[in-house]
């Protein structure tokens, strides 16, 4: 092939059209940079290995009665093949590094690489959890310092860093509430109140901990119905689990009154702090009367979501519940040395929630982020997150239907009234947005409105990227209203895969590769 043409198209096609007929069929099934990548099990060549390992020393076996296993069935690949496999797979992902990721309540903000670098320092990454305390003073200091930041930002009295994720933190909070009632000998509290607008994990957590869950309806303006709440409070209520700012993207105006009512009934007030990023540095949860709250470090303090995890869900406790923190936790002796308390002992502190001491790698990232922003910068984080969301609300409210009157906090909520009679659904809008190069917003959540579209831009988006998103979304809203249903139903067209059959996946689950079921590809027509 002539070198002269490199970097230039050999055929002038007159522009790419959004129809399959314009896309040439290739021999390989690849489309330019979009490579069809087989499963790793379909690339097997027995005997290949991507790691050089020495010979096994001939020292005999001490396996006792256990027989060495036979063939496992793993594929064999050399290092370059593995690199190519995962690189190609990565290219089929949307990520915050590639563009706006406005998933409401998920908080997809920029992930600074400094945090990654810090978490990989051998002094943090290559430290065993059971090394003598004298050899991990820096790690314990980091945990203490992170705890201090969290306690100060929330105004709370005690912190546990143990929970592995937000939902795990919820579990921890509810266990502390149960412990506190038990300590008072108050055994008759069997109900937990959970507003309709709560994250799905809230009722699941309360139920898993053996409580009966009772829903509190939302008012016309998207907040907890205070009168309905008061009517449900009684001597059998253990606590309230409230999300604030709530999942409609709104601040619960009556929160102090709510806290007082909950406390007057002898119950505790759990706050789902998943949306703390909206108010960090501007409001201290302790000042709102909250007894216990989890914080998603990966959301508020930006650790990468990594395709769904790992997370980290520290929990902060007001004085009322401070004695009930689980083990382990860090204490500092008079001589300045840090110590880990690893056993619950006979006190009110309850037991362990996971192995070892929490998600250390996440602690480093979160503290690096906190120190980078500082107290002043974190306040600006909340300001910009809220400003960006309200800007989207303002720019879209004439073509889409906001569910509630503004202002919103860090996310803005629309419902599907603007699509009424068009034949286009919330899902269709989301899929069409993918062809425009955006990850869609959160859809059909919260459940309190019909056909929800929950948009969270976060503070790390520029005005230019918001404007581009607004332009795309306005165009789609208008296209839907013009009756171009077919356009939406075919979307997305430009992705590595078109709409996937989720019903088929659930009806007859294929959850692993095995030679018998591979490959189930049906040739394109």
């Amino acid at each position: 092939m002539s070198m002269n043409n490199q970097g230039r198209p050999t055929h002038i096609s007159g522009g790419i059209q959004n129809s399959d007929s314009a896309v040439p069929q290739t021999v390989t099934g690849n489309r330019g940079l979009q490579i069809e990548e087989p499963l790793i099990f379909e690339q097997d060549s027995a005997g290949r290995c991507g790691v050089d390992l020495p010979e096994v020393p001939a020292v005999g076996s001490r396996l006792g009665a256990v027989k060495p296993r036979g063939r496992i069935g793993l594929p064999g690949l050399a290092e370059p093949q593995v690199v190519r496999h995962y690189t190609r797979l990565s290219q089929k992902n949307y990520a915050i590094d590639s563009g706006l990721y406005p998933l409401g309540s998920c908080t997809m903000k920029h992930n600074p690489r400094l945090n990654e670098k810090m978490a990989r320092l051998p002094g943090f990454a290559d430290v065993h959890p059971l090394q003598p305390e004298s050899t991990v003073q820096g790690a314990l200091e980091l945990m203490a310092e992170l705890g201090r930041w969290l306690a100060t930002l929330t105004g709370m009295a005690a912190v546990t860093l143990a929970p592995a994720a937000g939902a795990h933190g919820e579990m921890c909070g509810i266990m502390a509430i149960r412990s506190a009632h038990d300590a008072k000998g108050d055994k008759g509290r069997t109900r937990i109140l959970v507003p309709e607008s709560a994250h799905g994990t809230n009722p699941a957590t309360a139920a898993a901990c053996g409580y009966t869950v009772e829903a509190i309806p939302a008012t016309e303006d998207g907040r907890v119905d205070l009168e309905a709440l008061k009517a449900k409070l009684g001597p059998d209520v253990a606590g309230l689990m409230l999300t604030n700012p709530n999942t409609c993207g709104l601040f619960e105006r009556d929160i102090i009154t709510i806290a007082e009512a909950v406390h007057a009934a002898g119950a505790y007030f759990y706050c789902d702090g998943a949306n703390f990023n909206a108010i960090v540095g501007r409001v201290r949860p302790a000042d709102l009367g909250i007894d216990v709250m989890h914080i998603n470090l990966h959301k508020t303090f930006s650790t990468p979501h990594g395709g769904g995890g790992p997370g980290s869900g520290p929990v902060v406790f007001a004085e009322s519940l401070a004695p009930f923190v689980p083990v382990p936790y860090v204490v500092q002796d008079k001589d300045g040395a840090f110590r880990l308390v690893e056993q619950a002992g006979d006190g009110p502190a309850f037991g362990r929630m996971k192995a070892f001491h929490g998600q250390m790698g996440m602690f480093v990232r979160a503290l690096a982020y906190m120190m980078s922003h500082g107290a002043d910068g974190l306040r600006q984080v909340a300001n910009d997150a809220v400003l960006n969301a309200n800007y989207l609300l303002a720019r879209l409210q004439d073509v889409m239907t906001p569910s509630f009157d503004g202002p919103c906090m860090h996310e803005c909520l629309f419902d599907d009234r603007f699509l009424k009679g068009t034949g286009v659904t919330t899902l269709d809008i989301a899929k069409a947005l993918i062809d425009e190069g955006f990850h869609p917003m959160t859809m059909y959540f919260p459940l309190v409105v019909h056909g929800a579209l929950l948009i969270e831009p976060t503070e790390t988006e520029s005005k230019a990227s918001l404007d581009q998103f607004v332009t795309a979304l306005r165009a789609l809203a208008e296209r839907a209203k013009s009756g171009d249903v077919a356009y939406f139903q075919g979307a997305p067209r430009l992705t590595p895969r078109r709409r996937l059959d989720e019903t088929a996946a659930a009806r007859k689950p294929v959850l692993r590769w095995s030679p018998a079921v591979e490959p189930e590809t049906v040739a394109a027509e």
Binding site: P129, G281, V283, G351, F356, L387, K463
Partner: protein, 446 residues
């Protein structure tokens, strides 16, 4: 602030578009009494990259990295060599900074990885199906017991004394609050416990660990059969995933559920987390399994693709009726596990396991030669227990002063008792000279 793209001019024009005079106006729903007028006191203001790097590096510098000295620590967290390729690929932004694959059309990378991970875990454990990971091994163990309670509609779990105490405590914490009973067998460092004697008509499951926390490896085939006869499930816990390259897999011993820690592949020690919980079951239990699952399907053009599936079990659909409250998984750690295992392949993984075992055999022989040291185990994989003439915690401190991380005192895990027992691990990272240095130092401090 380098992470915030808005300029003052942007902010002004945006406030104008919103039609409010200031950003404070957007916080007007916050009760007056709780509004803060300025930055919270007691915390530093923003710092540049260099300053943060300096401060955190100073903290890291106060720790002794396990790789900088001869290290023989195990007990649920193992130091293995991680090929450079693993961390390089994990740090690709498209993996690192993606979210839960809710939009499968633009998440096929993550989804295919999870499908491959599920397959790898199934193969390793000898089970039919695995999920797309849990928080860690201990929470996976607790979830396995809760699952057994659901499946059998029985409320008692029997936990072996050889189960890692952190796994035991995680499970008993849940038992206390969620409302099921646990029978915890006393630790039996020299082996020998009659788990079956505790199994009755209320028993949902028996939980054993292989190799157990003291390092013993056992064949649980007979126990599995006996459990089955009594209507209880056998849960096998594995804290050292590399052992699955050499030992009879739990599935072949009759395990109904396997709960394991996957840190050993691709994931650094990280002072205890984040790690990756492995969870695998027999086919019949799939719909009762907690956590995330990826399934194969086809797209609108009939091409193979992957989606999250069976989510009707999950909290966002079933709310208070959900199988568990779990929301996230350990996606990125699962990716690291998967890449490392792909690099190793059949031959590499098997050989890695054999090397680990051989290293431990060498170490056991060297330590057994030290006066006063007694090897407790008759069998082991890459970890075993030694009996010392002095409290192990003191010995470990003395060794640390000599620059050797010489194992985990059993008393630290068990919260006292078993004072003379030290749990020692060897992996492919330990050289002969490491082992000699350990044996020499041990002889000196005893």
């Amino acid at each position: 602030m380098r992470y915030l793209p808005l300029t003052e001019a942007d902010r002004r024009s945006m406030l104008e578009a919103i039609d409010v005079p200031s950003v404070d106006e957007l916080f007007r729903d916050v009760p007056e009494a709780a509004r803060l007028s300025g930055p919270i006191k007691g915390l530093s203001n923003h710092m540049g990259e260099l300053e943060v790097d300096r401060a955190l590096s100073a903290m890291a510098g106060k720790n002794l990295p396990a790789g900088s000295v001869p290290s023989f620590l195990g007990a649920g967290a193992y130091r293995h060599h991680i090929p450079a390729t693993v961390d390089h690929l994990v740090q690709r932004g498209e993996f690192l900074t993606a979210y839960t694959p809710y939009q499968p059309e633009v998440s096929q990378g993550t989804l295919q990885v999870l499908f491959e991970f599920q397959t790898q875990v199934s193969l390793l454990t000898g089970m039919d199906v695995a999920n797309a990971s849990m928080y860690d091994g201990a929470t996976a163990c607790a979830e396995a017991v809760m699952m057994a309670n659901r499946v059998t509609r029985r409320k008692k779990a029997v936990l072996s004394g050889g189960l890692h105490p952190h796994y035991r405590d995680t499970t008993t914490t849940d038992a206390r609050f969620i409302g099921f009973e646990t029978v915890v067998m006393p630790p039996a460092p020299a082996g020998g416990e009659d788990l079956l004697a505790e199994v009755d008509g209320d028993t949902s499951c028996v939980v054993v660990q292989n190799p157990d926390v003291f390092g013993h490896v056992r064949d649980y085939t007979e126990l599995g059969k006996a459990c089955q006869a009594k209507g209880a499930l056998l849960i096998v816990v594995v804290t050292e995933a590399v052992s699955l390259g050499l030992l009879t897999p739990p599935g072949e011993m009759g395990a109904d559920i396997v709960a394991a820690e996957g840190q050993s592949l691709g994931n650094a020690l990280n002072f205890g987390g984040p790690y990756v919980g492995l969870f695998a079951v027999k086919e019949k239990l799939v719909r009762q399994m907690p956590g995330r699952l990826c399934g194969q399907t086809v797209d609108a053009d009939g091409r193979r693709g992957f989606v999250l599936t069976l989510s009707t079990r999950e909290q966002h659909i079933r709310r208070e009726k959900a199988t568990s409250n779990i929301c996230t998984n350990s996606g990125l750690c699962a990716l690291a596990f998967s890449i490392h295992l792909s690099l190793l392949g059949e031959e590499g993984f098997t050989r890695l396991a054999e090397i680990n075992h051989a290293k431990a055999v060498q170490l056991a022989d060297k330590l057994a030669a030290v006066t006063g040291v007694e090897i407790v185990n008759g069998s082991f994989f890459n970890e075993f227990t030694v009996k010392l003439p002095k409290p192990a915690a003191e010995v470990v401190e003395a060794l640390a002063r000599r620059g050797i991380l010489g194992g985990v005192p059993a008393s630290r895990l068990f919260g006292g008792g078993l004072d003379d027992l030290l749990i020692v691990a060897a992996t492919e990272t330990n050289t002969e000279s490491d082992m000699d240095a350990f044996a020499t130092a041990l002889a000196e401090v005893l």
